[in-house]
Amino acid sequence: MTAATFTGSRTAAEAAAPNPNRRRRLRPARAFLHVFLIATCIVWIAPVLYALYTSLRPYADTAKHGYVSVGGHYNLSNYTTAWNEADLPLYFKNSAIITIPALLITLWLASMVAFVVARHSFKFNLAMLMIFTAGNLLPQQAIITPLYKLYITIPLPGWLSDSGHLDDSFFGLILIHVAFQTGFCVFVLSNFMRTIPHEITEAARVDGASEWRQYWQVVLPLCRPALAALATLEFTWIYNDFFWATVLMQTGSNRPITAALNNLTGQFFTDNNLISAASMIVAIPTLVVFFALQKQFVSGLTLGANKG
């Protein structure tokens, strides 16, 4: 990432002093480009704006005037109805119970693996990296059948799971997120850790620091930018998960909000206005993360991609 931002800023510096003749010559093309981009952006944002607009109108008004129309009332009643009647706070709580531990454990485990493979030259490093990265790229549906059987077989103490098994428990969902997402984080973090000069851990070793201390007190603090980037990305991915929760969590009231929305539709959300409002509510956490931490989000994606 350091190199990417470095080249990025150099580009900006060079473009700040362009040839004045060339700039004038390009102007009509630039104007056309802006028109094209604005048009594209309007098309791109239209579905979201349509959902937002629909969510602000009572069903009775849209039924009378039509969905693509102006007029009638505009208020937040769909939001309060969705929030209260479908018990959305409960599902947000479920999402938090799953997402936060899964995120933290994933980053912790992945950073340890990355430390082992990126800061040492063991023979099995290549195999380790392949196992983790390839595992993350498998379609979830390709492994779900035996995984589901495994989940309903493995017993779990009652305080961890109502069903007495990994299946239908928060613990089981956290576990599969960790096992699956660790792969991507190992890939990104090991690339990042390779860019930390070897002299730093060498010095710590000479001073008698154990491997654990080199990891915890030297390397990990230096990985903060990469960890921040991964945290935003993984938060979004785990929060947005639909498949694991749909298959591995049968108790509807224990589902995280992304998966719960599907059950609630038809049961509580009977018209498009309510569905729109509920969709907007569900999107809020990811939208907040995206707008507040867009730089981290994008650099997390590109940290993984800028490598090849």
Binding site: V116, L138, T145, H198, E211, Y215, V247
Partner: protein, 313 residues
């Protein structure tokens, strides 16, 4: 980042020096690498192998392992000969792949190339185009229902097809609904590809393009001969992302109608065979094995070449 990585790696003495670890360090490193490895093996790779093994059995999954009956390749024979949902599912997965290669990949590259031109407001354009990527695919499924709903949707109302006499049933018509889904899938995928290409373009040395345009190259020539060759590593990533995302496609169609009536996909067939009322573990596994083999054919060469290059340098 690649430059930095190769610089640190090209100090072989430091890397290859035989290092002697104390017992405690050895134990620490074993645990640090071993525990996550065990998790990945137990919950990703073991199920992957078991998928292949189970595909050669008949098993309702209700009784214990004793109810498993060897089936040879019978499950596969059924899939390829008389299972009516299989041909449309494969067709839709291939169509998904084709559309992802033909629309979001080039359009994402085009947008990235334009947005890389130090435009005023480039950040705002980027944010808007990237916005769908942060929404979950399940939510994109709900958006598809909103936008393409026959009577209440945006598309039909804007084009005047919401009335009873000329209604276009985007979601219910089995030859139309896959296109409605694909339009929304492309809506999300384009921003993803665009961001990947933007990152790749940032690492193209701008002085090369400058030199090319001084030599009289037009925009297309400088893109074709300067930018495109430098994007090779990103192109590989985009190909892998495109293939994987098309094979994983599930959420949008599952939200709309659980992958039936014109929206069959390999992933929904697999799911229907394990969580449906009649669970057919062996049969579902045979479908999953087909999906697994197709994805590994792309994933393994990619992962292998990526990491071999690293460890060699």
């Amino acid at each position: 980042m690649n430059h930095l990585a190769s610089i640190t790696l090209s100090q072989p003495g430091r890397n290859r020096r035989l290092r002697r670890y104390t017992k405690r360090d050895r134990a620490a490193l074993t645990l640090m690498g071993g525990v996550p490895l065990l998790l990945s093996l137990a919950f990703v790779w073991l199920p992957a192998l078991a998928t292949v093994a189970l595909s050669f059995f008949n098993w309702t999954g209700i009784g214990g392992f004793s109810d498993m009956k060897p089936a040879g390749v019978n499950n596969y024979r059924i899939i390829f000969s008389i299972y009516p949902e299989f041909p449309p599912a494969i067709e839709h997965n291939l169509l998904w792949l084709l559309v992802f290669f033909v629309i979001p990949a080039p359009f994402g590259l085009f947008l990235a190339h334009q947005l890389n031109k130090q435009l005023r407001g480039s950040r705002i354009y980027q944010s808007i185009l990237f916005l769908p990527v942060v929404l979950s695919l399940a939510l994109v499924g709900f958006m598809t229902e909103l936008v393409f709903s026959p009577t209440q949707g945006l598309v039909n109302n804007l084009t005047g097809h919401a009335g009873q006499h000329n209604l276009i049933d985007w979601l219910g018509n089995p030859s139309l609904n896959i296109w409605a889904v694909l339009i929304m899938a492309c809506w999300r995928q384009t921003g993803y590809v665009m961001i990947l290409f933007l990152a790749g373009l940032k690492s193209v040395d701008p002085s090369l393009q400058e030199a090319a345009s001084l030599d009289g190259a037009n925009e297309w020539q400088s893109f074709r001969h300067v930018v495109w060759p430098a994007l090779r590593p990103i192109n590989i990533v985009v190909v892998v992302v495109t293939v994987i995302e098309s094979l994983r496609a599930f959420d949008i169609v599952y939200i709309i109608n659980q992958g039936t009536n014109g929206l069959e996909l390999l992933s929904t067939l697999i799911t229907a065979n394990i969580i449906g009322e009649t669970s057919r573990i062996g049969f579902g596994s045979a479908l999953a094995t087909i999906l697994l083999v197709i994805s590994l054919a792309f994933v393994l060469p990619y992962v292998y070449t990526t990491f071999r290059k690293d460890t060699r340098s």
